[in-house]
């Protein structure tokens, strides 16, 4: 639990005194300078190379580049009660209305924002004050329901967890739908292929017999799969994966994470069934350990590590 890989960076940073303008995506994927869709892909790819190099070591690397690093969040004044300064942000959204548009188009919006607000607030402000036709999914608005995964400045984030002050607001913020799933409208994609992969790995406990009370499990056994129980099925990982982009048949990180959750659950008896499923040509071997998924996960799950553990279980044939 000590290795905090949450995207906002190290929460224990002290007194760096750096504020929004300095914590922007310096040296990070700042894609889409001229807004073509492909630019972002290139940027992701360069990030992969860095991550791949880092992946040579046996431990999980910290993302080398952090497009959106809030390491200094610690020193920000608490809540909105300190009468914070508002500022103007340009948000550029990739819009697509299938009933009207042949192709997606980028649309600029100027939005008045406060530092503690999130990209979701910006989208709401656009929808509620400027253009109510903007379509996106959201529900809980604090990173638990997994509705609002989207691509923000070229990186997959939950809009409700991406704080405006962690971006370089002197530049526009680009928001588009997650990639690799069929685009339905604006920021909404068809989630069915994603859930199909999830359902295929038999994501439910399979255990014989009906105990009178609870099945017992030691604290250590429970801890073994704790990380992968955090998944909220937001698809940020799967749709950040370059393998998934080029081969939609690939199960993708999220399905493997959920398989991991059961494979390493001491109560489960169907680990081998799931391992066999993931031994498929569209299974776990397609992972090229680019760590995009780990970097994208809003829950801080060590996705690439989980995938590696499933590979290891396939090789060794034993439950770790």
């Amino acid at each position: 639990m000590s290795d905090n890989q949450l995207p906002q960076g190290d929460p224990k940073g002290q007194d760096s005194g750096v504020h929004a303008a300095q914590s922007g995506p310096t040296g990070a994927p700042t894609p889409m300078a001229d807004r073509p869709d492909t630019a972002s892909t290139d940027d992701q790819s360069s990030a992969h190379q860095v991550a791949e190099a880092a992946a040579q070591s046996s431990t999980e690397p910290k993302p080398v580049e952090n497009a959106y690093d809030g390491a200094d969040r610690e020193t920000q004044p608490a809540p909105s009660h300190d009468a914070p300064q508002s500022f103007n942000v340009t948000v550029i959204v990739r819009r697509f209305d299938p009933e009207v548009d042949d192709e997606p188009r980028w649309v600029d919006y100027d939005v008045q924002m406060y530092p503690t607000e999130r990209i979701l607030d910006a989208l709401h402000r656009i929808k509620w004050e400027q253009d109510p036709s903007l379509a996106f999914r959201r529900s809980c608005a604090h990173g638990i329901c997994g509705s609002d995964a989207m691509r923000i400045n070229g990186k997959n984030r939950l809009a409700c967890k991406a704080l405006v002050k962690d971006f370089d607001i002197s530049k526009p913020i680009y928001v588009e739908a997650i990639k690799g799933l069929p685009l339905e409208k604006d920021l909404i994609v068809n989630m069915e292929p994603f859930f199909d992969s999830f359902r295929e790995i038999q994501p439910f406990l399979q255990a014989s017999g009906k105990p009178e009370k609870e099945r017992h499990q030691t604290i250590a056994q429970r801890e073994r799969f704790d990380d992968t129980t955090k998944c909220i099925l937001c698809a940020a990982c799967t749709t950040s994966c370059p393998v998934f982009w080029t081969d939609g048949q690939y199960f993708g990180p999220a399905a493997i994470v959920n398989a991991h959750r059961f494979i390493f659950d001491s109560r489960d008896e169907a680990s081998q069934v799931r391992l066999d499923i993931l031994n498929d040509k569209e299974g776990v071997w397609r992972c090229r350990t680019t760590f995009n998924c780990t970097d994208a996960c809003p829950r801080g799950i060590q996705v690439t590590k989980a995938i590696a553990e499933v590979k290891q279980a396939l090789i060794s044939g034993v439950k770790l």
Partner: protein, 595 residues
């Protein structure tokens, strides 16, 4: 098993034995019972895993006695007392008795509870849950870190996948079809709007279960999801069926200040302390025995009182602190990791070393669709509507009375969700389908067309914002005749503007502009019922605190409010008729409520 579908005149028709509206905890728990035994469809506005059950954090109460002595009778007592004696005591007995199997069911389904050193389900303390009738806090809440709701939602969805439950995802139920038969009014089906296509679907069903959750979005500062707009409760209301105890709305003490995002009571269960600006542990004054673990209504009131008395913290003295700093990083990281991260992410405050600014946040509706203990919906104080069920937050059994105890709602959805599922299947076994009227979808089609094609000028967002602001200001933790009348007048004005809303998105696919406009209609309806019910209850009980009537009045008000929509609409107001329903008392006579 019946299961068909067809398209006529552009409208889709489906037939299932059991229709479940809502894919959260209660709906999926019902589906797990119903789907293996009868053709079942879950019609849900959201993908099931998006439901707000997943935001519940702290735990699920059950007297397993895994870590210390406990009994479900103590749990019943706590639930009744916590509900300020408005809880129906026979219902609370069922809740606490069946709690134990409800937890084992979930564990057996795969839920990864935290464990004790000997491998059993671990339990923690929670507000209002006590040993031996109030003597001291007891460890009764079964939990999975501070994401118990997430684990319940995931586990239930996983088991729905296992059972092949049929989901209609992002289908927005908008009407319940009832048909007059020689035997009386019967459920015939449900009309839903498919968000992806804008098409209308009519589902014929023998039994219908409402599991649509709450309506926290009538308030501005709320822990509730944007999507919790009371659609199911609103549909029932518009059918002329009663709503019970709508004035009882729970404010969770520890919302992140200014944001309303929930920080679990489990934090206080693990030892966190509320402090005012001067650092005083003020709950010692309000609840000397169990202090910070008093029930939510009392803690929320105490916090607001501290702020009103000038002891609030921050530049505007408008919040208090949740102090977790003495718990240590280990406890926070292993038992409360999510709320630790919320505080870091959204307030930039690290609970390991800093006190977290908190203030009450609108959280849970104790009231809702009246049901009996079998989850059957009532059309008055006693009469059952055959084939119609409700469970979870949208329902009012009433197991929560005037104030729900923390961890009793995850319990409620499991116990009464299961009951609803089983009873719906039993009903569907012997009942026949009731004929759908040929114009079953007309009302919905007309309403949507009027809205989509209207030429009004009003903004949905502005009306909603005004509603939420007046509710926050005037119908929150403390209420008076004056504030409530102000809210009522504001709601009336907003209701008169509502028919004039402008929909900018004229398209059919994923028209979330239209969706929000429809949701606003339900919010306006329900807010008015909340306020009218609150005006009528001239006493203070549980979450309903009237400054002008500060004491509990058992002689006149130890009874449930029953609100009915009448045909007599006057101007912008709905016609609302209020009635009373007796509380069912078994063992516990009302006494003064002290902690």
């Amino acid at each position: 098993m019946a299961e068909t579908s067809s398209v006529t005149d552009g409208i889709h028709y489906h037939q299932h034995d059991v229709l479940i509206i809502g894919g959260g905890g209660a709906g999926m728990r019902a589906a797990i019972e119903a789907a293996p035994k009868a053709s079942t469809a879950v019609i849900t506005k959201l993908y099931p895993t998006r439901s707000h059950t997943g935001a519940a954090q702290g735990g699920m109460a059950a007297a397993l006695a895994n870590v210390e002595e406990d009994s479900n009778e103590w749990h019943t007592y706590d639930t009744v007392k916590g509900g300020d004696y408005l809880t129906d005591q026979d219902s609370a007995e069922i809740l606490t008795r069946e709690a134990i199997d409800a937890v084992y069911d979930l564990e057996n389904m795969g839920l990864p509870f935290n464990r004790t050193p000997d491998g059993k389900i671990d339990q923690r303390r929670f507000g209002g849950h006590t040993r031996d009738h109030g003597k001291a806090p007891v460890r009764r809440a079964c939990y999975a870190a501070d994401r118990t709701g997430h684990m319940i939602l995931q586990t239930l969805y996983q088991n729905c996948v296992k059972h092949g439950v049929e989901f209609f995802n992002e289908f927005y139920a908008l009407d319940l079809v009832m048909t007059e038969t020689p035997l009386g009014k019967r459920v015939a089906g449900v009309v839903a709007y498919e968000l992806a296509t804008g098409e209308i679907h009519v589902f014929q069903g023998k039994a219908v279960i409402f599991a649509t959750g709450g309506f926290g979005k009538i308030y501005k500062t709320t822990s509730n999801a944007h999507t919790l707009t009371g659609d199911g409760v609103g549909i029932i209301w518009r059918k002329g069926l009663p709503l019970e105890d709508m004035e009882f709305y729970q404010f969770h003490p520890t919302g992140l200040a200014g944001l309303g995002i929930l920080l679990t009571e489990g934090a206080r269960g693990e030892g966190a302390i509320l402090r005012n600006a001067s650092g005083e542990r003020f709950m010692e004054r309000y609840a000397p025995t169990i202090k910070d673990l008093a029930p939510r209504d009392i803690v929320a009131r105490s916090m607001v009182q501290e702020v009103l008395d000038g002891r609030g913290a921050g530049p505007n003295k408008d919040y208090v602190y949740l102090d977790c700093t003495h718990l240590g990083a280990e406890v926070l990281e292993t038992k409360l990791p999510d709320i630790t991260e919320f505080a870091r992410t959204y307030l930039g405050v690290d609970p390991v070393v800093e006190r977290v600014p908190v203030y009450p946040t609108a959280h849970y509706a104790m009231g809702g669709i009246p049901t009996n203990n079998d989850a059957e919906v009532l059309s008055d104080n006693e009469t059952v509507i055959p084939g119609l069920y409700a469970a979870g937050e949208c329902a009012c059994v009433s197991v929560h009375g005037a104030n729900r105890l923390g961890t009793n709602s995850l319990l409620d959805i499991n116990v009464f969700g299961k009951r609803a599922g089983n009873n719906a299947v039993e009903y569907a076994r012997t009942a026949d389908f009731v004929d759908l009227p040929t114009d079953a979808a007309d009302g919905v089609v007309k309403m949507l067309a009027q809205m989509r094609e209207g030429t009004g000028t009003e903004s949905v967002a502005e009306i909603r914002k005004a509603l939420q602001e007046t509710m926050d200001r005037n119908a929150q933790v403390f209420r008076t005749e004056e504030t409530l009348q102000t809210a009522l007048a504001d709601i009336a004005k907003l209701r008169s503007r509502y028919p004039n809303v402008r929909i900018h998105d004229r398209g059919r696919r994923f028209n979330t502009d239209l969706l929000e406009a429809v949701e606003l209609g339900f919010l306006l309806d329900l807010a008015e019922v909340v306020v009218v019910s609150a005006i009528n209850r001239k006493e203070s009980r549980g979450a309903h605190m009237r400054d002008d009537y500060p004491t509990r009045d058992d002689v006149n008000y130890m009874q449930h409010t029953m609100a009915y929509r009448t045909a007599a609409e006057t101007g912008a107001s709905q016609g609302i008729r209020l009635d009373w329903k007796p509380v069912r008392v078994t063992h516990y006579q009302p006494t003064e409520r002290k902690y």
